[in-house]
């Protein structure tokens, strides 16, 4: 390692620290007492160090407000959506990549067009549809629309296409059926791609804001992302800054942990998801 490299690391550390500051500040504020925060937010080192320290804000989350409940909703919706997307994407992706059937090219083209439709362009008709069915304020209303987005199908399709054909052909010669090949041979091979898709979907589900905002009007069906939006507008008056920040930390914990453990997959997923992520 030469001197130029050391300077480079040093020079990049400053912007990296600045990048970290807002997150750090949120965490630090969440560990300070509300009555202190009402007076000043810069007690120690501009408030970046939580002195005076308290963990009360986190304890309060369980006694006041609905944060734990919203957290649970987010968990149910995100896991449900992830399972749903995995189920429809792996099956359709395999069929489109490996099986022969009439109008296959047409089906692929039709699905490709769907990639162009942003959520924001269909949320009004979806709203009226779900209202007609009486589906709003339910978990399936929050889960189902995302299952229709074809990005996962194309992720899986690309992956299945890259698997060598001889594995499949050997199984065919032994008289194994298509569905068994899919279930016992292809799915286990597809684990890395499924992991990427699962993380992409989970992140999307956890962080989605617009659809829950129109679909879930009752506070019992808020996701944590939506719940956090509903308490931040009046944070100063009613809730106390420290407690709102603690909610923010709790809301970020699953995705940040996911990111730190599966960093490689998360980066892959977000790159693959691109605009749709």
């Amino acid at each position: 390692m030469n001197r130029g490299y050391s300077w480079l690391v040093l020079g990049l550390s400053l912007p990296a620290f600045i990048w970290l500051v807002p997150t750090l500040w949120m965490v630090s504020l969440s560990f300070q007492p509300n009555d202190v925060l009402a007076r000043t937010t810069s007690s120690t080192a501009f408030g970046l160090v939580p002195v005076p320290f308290t963990a009360e804000n986190y304890a309060d989350l369980f006694t006041f407000g609905q944060t734990p409940w919203w957290f649970l909703n987010s968990l149910i919706v995100s896991l449900g959506m992830t399972l749903g997307v995995l189920a429809v994407s792996t099956t359709a992706g395999y069929a489109l990549a490996r099986l022969d059937f009439p109008f296959k090219r047409t089906v692929i083209a039709v699905c490709l067009v769907g990639l162009m439709v942003p959520e924001q362009a269909v949320f009004i008709p979806l709203y009226t549809m779900f209202a007609d069915f009486g589906w709003h304020n339910s978990y399936h209303a929050l889960i189902l629309p995302r299952m229709a987005v074809p990005i996962g199908v194309f992720l899986m399709l690309q992956f299945f296409r890259a698997i060598p054909r001889d594995i499949e052909e050997a199984a065919r010669l032994d008289g194994v059926g298509w569905l068994r090949i899919f279930w016992y041979i292809m799915l286990p091979l597809a684990r890395p791609a499924m992991m990427t898709l699962a993380i992409l979907t989970f992140l999307y589900a956890w962080n989605d804001y617009l659809w829950p905002l129109v679909s879930a009007q009752q506070r019992e069906y808020f996701t944590i992302t939506l719940g956090l939006a509903s308490i931040q507008s009046n944070f100063a008056q009613s809730e106390g800054l420290g407690r709102v920040m603690a909610s923010g930390v709790i809301a970020s914990l699953p995705v940040v942990i996911l990111f730190l453990i599966f960093q490689r997959y998360v980066v892959q997923a977000m790159t693959a998801g691109g605009s749709k992520g």
Partner: protein, 362 residues
């Protein structure tokens, strides 16, 4: 052996069985809603009225589009010399660059179309005694474009410089990348929560630092001059990560031999960046820019939560206007017309993205 084997599905039957779950959700929750959206946009459709009486909607043809995008006595002329002049310069530049063979045909067409739109679109304005039917629509589109126009270059340039600096596989660089990418996984409501308080003139970190430095804190979110800048800063902070990672992936494809050869010619550091890195990353840069335009044109949360579109509508953006028209004013017909407008713009950029992606595969 043969007799004991269970009956098997033919390839077609298996394909059908595997495709049905996805195709059913796709048709039901994406294809059908899309066309239903177009259909709603052709009606005078009040959310509450239709909810009580499904027949309380009138077919009005394209009137909603007219009411949103058009006005009375609209004329065309050189009403916005700045933008239109820029468009004319763009057209001339495109012609020149194409003649001298410095840009590919595809890029020339893209530049030409953008320039032409710049000349044509800002030229429309209400003539004497005329007015736009919806005074807020075009300014909202303008704000959205301004937001995109500030965010995309901001993200692209900083991500590019950072990626070029971090293009080494060492532990320190790995940690730095993680730090820059971390904010990317946060939800929009966490981002707005953090930055709302960061920008607060009384409690904000920025105000606290300004005060210590002896300055007067700015009321970022309620000052017309700074509100847009504030949501742009928050957005750049939030979404730098993906762009950085895409650039790092692109940088991996440039062989180190080119740099070594250039170093012999004394091209290092900034010179190497300018003459080797940039030209070799051209396609990645285009891809990143297009991806970001699509992503940021759909901005909603930052404006909705940080500034509520204000002050004085300066941060009102298209998706928020659609949301308000539909769910606050209950005017689903007009809101759907705007959503179709959004789709057309997004669709155009998606096609560009698709073409670039294709080129890359070949």
């Amino acid at each position: 052996m043969r007799e004991r084997r269970p009956r098997q599905l033919s390839q077609r039957q298996a394909a059908l069985l595997l495709l049905i779950p996805f195709l059913a959700t796709y048709v039901l929750f994406l294809v059908y809603p899309f066309f239903r959206g177009v259909w709603i946009s052709l009606h005078d459709w009040n959310l509450l009225a239709v909810a009580f009486n499904p027949d309380a909607k009138d077919f009005v043809g394209l009137r909603n589009y007219e009411r949103v995008m058009w006005g009375s006595n609209i004329e065309w002329g050189f009403a916005a010399p700045l933008w239109q002049g820029l468009g004319l310069i763009g057209l001339a530049l495109t012609a020149f660059l194409h003649r001298t063979g410095r840009v590919s045909r595809f890029n020339a067409i893209a530049m030409g179309v953008v320039s032409l739109l710049l000349v044509v679109l800002p030229g429309f304005h209400p003539g004497e005694g005329g007015r736009w039917y919806d005074r807020r629509f075009w300014p909202t589109v303008g704000n959205t474009m301004l937001f995109v126009g500030l965010t995309v270059p901001g993200v692209t340039i900083s991500a590019l410089l950072l990626a070029a600096g971090m293009n080494r596989e060492t532990r320190a660089m790995g940690i730095l990348r993680t730090l820059f990418f971390l904010s990317q996984v946060l939800s929009v409501t966490v981002v707005t929560l953090i930055w709302q308080i960061m920008f607060s003139p009384r409690q904000g970190l920025i105000a606290n630092i300004t005060e210590v430095a002896g300055g007067t804190p700015i009321n970022w979110l309620t000052d017309q001059q700074f509100a847009m800048a504030a949501i742009v800063i928050a957005t750049i902070w939030w979404s730098l990560g993906i762009a950085m990672i895409l650039f790092l992936a692109g940088l991996q494809d440039i062989s180190s031999e080119i740099y070594e050869a250039a170093a012999l010619d004394n091209a290092r550091g900034p010179r190497a960046f300018w003459f080797i890195t940039l030209p070799n990353l051209r396609r990645t840069i285009t891809l990143v820019v297009v991806l970001q335009i699509i992503l940021h044109f759909q901005v909603f949360g930052q404006s909705h939560l940080m500034t509520q579109g204000g002050p004085n509508d300066t941060t009102q953006v298209l998706v928020r206007y659609i949301y308000q028209t539909g769910f606050r004013d209950s005017e689903l017909g007009r809101a759907s017309a705007m959503a179709v407008f959004l789709f057309v713009i997004m669709g155009a950029f998606s096609v560009v993205q698709f073409i670039i992606g294709r080129e890359k595969d070949e």
